[in-house]
Amino acid sequence: MKRYAPQIALIAVLAVSLGISMMSSQLDAYYLDIALNVGINIILAVSLNLVNGHTGQFSLGHAAFMAVGAYGASIFTLEAADQLIPMLGGPSTFATGVAFLIALLIGGLCAAFCGWLVGMPSLRLRGDYLAIVTLGFNEIVRVILQNTSGDGPFGGPLGLKGIPAHTSFFWVFAIAALCVYGVASMVNSTYGRGFLAVRDDEIAAGSMGINTTRYKVTAFVTGSFFAGLAGGLYAHLRTTISPEGFNFLKSFDIVVIVILGGMGSTAGVVLAAIVLTVLNEFLRDFEQYRMIVFSLLLIVMMIVRPQGLLPSLPFLKRKKA
């Protein structure tokens, strides 16, 4: 039974989120909103951690993939969902659910495709070049979106409005759970040791028969896919999106979560996503100091404790079988 523990845990989390989701109307809207933000940030941080932490590459453009996912999913919902729902037997919870799932997947796949496009040429390069390329990609996405026509499907500089609020507790935490499960099982398998080998020593990894490019691209595309899903969830939660919302400061926010949580530690990053999201919410009045404190924390930590602020917790860690 023990060897199936990860699957059982996954199913349990899915069931609990469905339960909470069904009684969400009785929950305080403010705290529910924070919880949903936490979930979205978990998806973003855990997926970025696959690239930056486990595989040792350094992407600074995660928000760009989130943007691609957000726009992809929203455009599908706004333009095509109305035609799709009658085919699924008319308006019903089931039909809107399926339409939303398709929208999310389209967003995720668009983001994954962009990840592949950006990753193929740039992952041959060392980590710090990748940082600049992804940062550049972030800017390219923003500039392209801002220069679209205001009447067109992308909405120009003002972005998109009136996206239906499909995102619920269940959707967010089901995808967050799948993301954590997916990344953790990928990395912990024998196949997945390849990601860590690439991070530790790329030349040695190549000499051990590991196709380093394929691993890096796999990590990058998977990371982009989940960022795209997170973008779709975000768009259908906020109901409006604009190109400015996905600028590189958003990417930095996700990077900060990953670094403070400890690069390469899934549990640490999940914890950091929870703590920092909640903290951000309560420190809203001190917005101007928040980034100063975070940036100082980054600098001091790299000197004193580069492995991350949160201790590596025993759960989800490599089992000493």
Partner: protein, 256 residues
């Protein structure tokens, strides 16, 4: 056409410097060949040429009749050539066990999707991997250290783990780059026995770069000597020991 490893007129040039020029030698299946030469003679460069880290400027390298240059390092490893590194390149943040596991990855039947579904076939394969990794670690006396971080091992153990990791790729040809460096005489003796043992047990051809003459002369069946990237002698340990050019290269004086 011999089956093992065959180098013909191999040359590599860095800028104006010919690090290796017109080098030719071969390693037959199951043979243990030594490659020696003074510091900077180009021994490690030869390894880098064979394993695809560098591409030769001219010449041919064949393994089992198939050309090697132009393939990526991981493809060459898949052909059956594995190596260790002179300046130890273990996966330092991984455990001893995981260093070996990472090197077995290319023989996996399961892929990324199986690691998500975690079905019975996946579980079974993970277990057989583990057994094989432990067997190899056991041969080199590292089984007890399996959960330690690779970087926490002492120098000699790190060198041994390099060999275990290379073996985990199931090679037909093993390239050892200074495996005895930094070991004491007793450890060196053990190492010589181990190299012979694994060679017989896994039917390996071995190409050995080593500074310690006692080790080289003690286990190699044939030795090639290079100086400034050029082969100056080749033969049995006995022939090499009294070869005038070799003596000159090592002692810097003419042997007359």
């Amino acid at each position: 056409m011999s089956t093992g490893l065959e180098l013909q007129d191999v040359t590599i040039q860095f800028g104006g410097l010919k690090a290796v020029s017109d080098l030719g030698f071969h390693v037959a299946p199951g043979e243990l060949v030594g490659l020696i030469g003074p510091n900077g003679a180009g021994k490690t460069t030869v390894f880098n040429l064979i394993t695809g880290v560098y591409t030769p400027t001219a010449g041919r390298i064949h393994f089992e009749g198939k050309p090697v240059p132009g393939r990526k390092p991981h493809e060459i490893t898949r052909m059956g050539i594995a190596r260790t590194f002179q300046n130890i390149r273990l996966f330092s943040s991984l455990s001893v066990f995981d260093n070996v596991r990472a090197a077995m990855m290319m023989h996996l039947k399961h892929g990324i999707l199986h690691s998500l579904t975690r079905g019975p076939a996946f579980q079974e394969e993970e277990q057989s991997m583990e057994a094989r990794a432990l067997e190899l670690l056991d041969i080199f006396g590292l089984a007890d250290a399996r959960d330690q971080d690779a970087k926490s091992l002492n120098y000699g153990d790190q060198r041994r783990l390099e060999i275990v990791r290379a073996l985990a790729t199931q090679p037909k040809l093993l390239l050892l780059d200074e495996p005895a460096a930094g070991m004491n005489p007793a450890e060196k003796d053990d190492l010589m026995k181990l190299i012979r043992f694994i060679k017989d047990r896994y039917q390996l051809a071995v190409l050995l770069v080593e500074h310690d003459m006692k080790v080289v002369m003690g286990i190699c069946e044939r030795i090639a000597v290079i100086e400034y990237g050029v082969k100056i002698a080749e033969g049995t340990p006995k022939e090499i020991q009294c070869h005038p050019k070799v003596i000159e290269a090592y002692l810097g004086v003419s042997a007359e």
